[in-house]
């Protein structure tokens, strides 16, 4: 963003899409989208897998564990990807970090 500071996301945060931000599937638009106030983002497969797990129940650590197990990928890399996505959304007020 403006000065390049990345927002931190702690391992025990319980991220959740707030009211007014939701994932939707639309054939005519070619797949998944994230709908938010006055904006629409195309959601790729990785984004969808991450955001589907942001229920407000699971902690960041649990979400990363789950993704690492499901996709048999290195935990550190998954952690970095998840934090990057979630902190970017939180800065735009599109995610509650709980």
């Amino acid at each position: 963003m403006m000065d390049g500071r990345a927002m931190q996301v702690s391992d025990d945060a319980r991220p959740r899409l707030p009211r007014g931000v939701r994932l939707a599937h639309n054939e005519a638009q070619g797949g998944w989208v994230l709908l938010a106030p006055e904006r629409v983002f195309k959601a790729d497969a990785v984004t969808v897998e991450i955001l589907k797990r942001c229920t407000g129940e699971a902690t960041l650590a649990a979400i990363v564990d789950d993704l690492a197990a499901t996709f048999a990928a290195p935990r550190e890399r998954i952690h970095a990807d998840v934090v990057q996505l979630l902190s970017g959304l939180a800065e735009k007020k599109l995610l509650d970090l709980g």
């Binding site: 927002m7 707030p18 009211r19 639309n26 006055e38 629409v40 007020k93």
Partner: protein, 354 residues
């Protein structure tokens, strides 16, 4: 041809406020001609099937319609993201709770200034500011995301910082600092609304500072003062490319001001499906793509970026809707824009009437 992403549903042209910057047309649709609930519900279903993701329920003041809860519910049932664009005047907390229960996703409230007396003067409605503030708090208390829309012009352009502070204090997640766009009533009031170049530059600087200061707390979106710009705005993201507009009486327009352009044939949702209108109606075909362009647009490297600017503005300022938007420095009419921006008079507002 792409699928539209957003639809502006102008539910009514009726509005309790008289804002002189309103971009509604001078000739407003009458209440008796407004589409009924069932027709809007059908239009929402057709829109969703066409690819529309978000519907912006607007007007006029959408709360002037008693069937607004049914309309919100119909949009939600069609799978659309529901955005209510309201003046907040005429919307009670009880009505808001009903709308929230019906599936509203987001609320945008216009506030005319951070200064109460000035805000009421601009709105032409005593007590409007206090009512807006109260309703904004209700929106946030109900857990709905709030955007505050602040239209900026000569009377309030020095207060960008307190405007953003106001939006923050109300709990908004987003604030729009939107310079007036000169269509409809705003065009009629242009000399009374137009800021100076220095004022616009200072406002731009303020927005940059405030974005850095409030990063992560509130999103600040700006709509530029295009009379002072070098390049035109990519109006509606390109004609017939990403969005459409349905008037209270059911005419479907590529942008909400399009009816000022003479000779365009608009189709109505009463007679055609939305998909037919999007694909085949003469008004959408006229300026879709780049074939209609003249020089300097036709060979311009930016033609797929700003789409030649705004067709309505080209017509309104040059008399030719196919001309480059004269805001562009490459337009042969560009000096006219500077002349019009210099024509500033502290005249009484011609308030919008309905």
């Amino acid at each position: 041809m792409s699928a539209p992403l957003g639809m502006l549903a102008e539910l009514t042209h009726r509005c309790p406020l008289g804002c002189p910057y309103c971009s509604n047309p001078l000739a407003l649709d009458k209440r008796a001609d407004e589409l009924d609930t069932a027709t809007w519900a059908r239009v929402f279903r057709e829109a969703a099937a066409l690819g529309v993701l978000q519907v912006h329920l607007s007007g006029g003041e959408p709360a002037a319609r008693r069937d607004l809860p049914e309309i919100v519910q119909a949009a939600r049932e069609a799978g659309l993201y529901n955005n209510l664009i309201t003046s907040a005047v005429g919307l009670t907390p009880q009505n808001l709770a009903t709308l929230s229960g019906a599936g509203l996703d987001h609320v945008q409230i216009s506030i005319q200034d951070s200064d109460a007396a000035s805000a009421d003067h601009i709105a032409g409605y005593k007590g409007a500011f206090a009512r807006k503030r109260e309703l904004a708090k209700e929106v946030v208390n109900m857990g709905l995301p709030l955007t505050v829309n602040m239209v900026v012009h000569r009377a309030n352009i020095g207060r960008v910082e307190p405007m953003v502070e106001l939006a923050l204090s109300l709990g908004a997640i987003r604030v729009e600092i939107a310079h007036v766009q000169y269509y409809g009533w705003a065009l009629k009031n242009r000399a009374a609304l137009m800021p100076t170049r220095e004022q616009v530059e200072e406002a731009v600087r303020q927005v940059e500072l405030l974005r850095a200061k409030h990063q992560g707390r509130i999103v600040i979106d700006a709509v530029v003062a295009d009379y002072y710009a070098r390049f035109p705005k990519p109006c509606v993201g390109g004609w017939g490319r990403r969005s459409l507009n349905v008037t209270p009486a059911g005419r479907v327009l590529p942008c909400h001001a399009a009816e000022v352009i003479p000779g365009l044939e608009f189709w109505n949702v009463r007679e055609h499906s939305l998909a037919d209108i999007w694909r085949s109606s003469p008004a959408f075909l006229t300026f879709r793509g780049t074939d209609w362009m003249q020089e300097p647009c036709r060979s311009c490297a930016r033609r797929d970026q700003d789409f030649g600017g705004c067709r309505c503005q080209s017509f309104l300022l040059t008399g030719d809707a196919r001309a480059a938007d004269p805001v562009c420095y490459l337009s042969p009419h560009h000096t006219l824009v500077a002349e019009l921006a210099a024509d500033r008079k502290d005249a009484a507002y011609a308030y919008r009437t309905c």
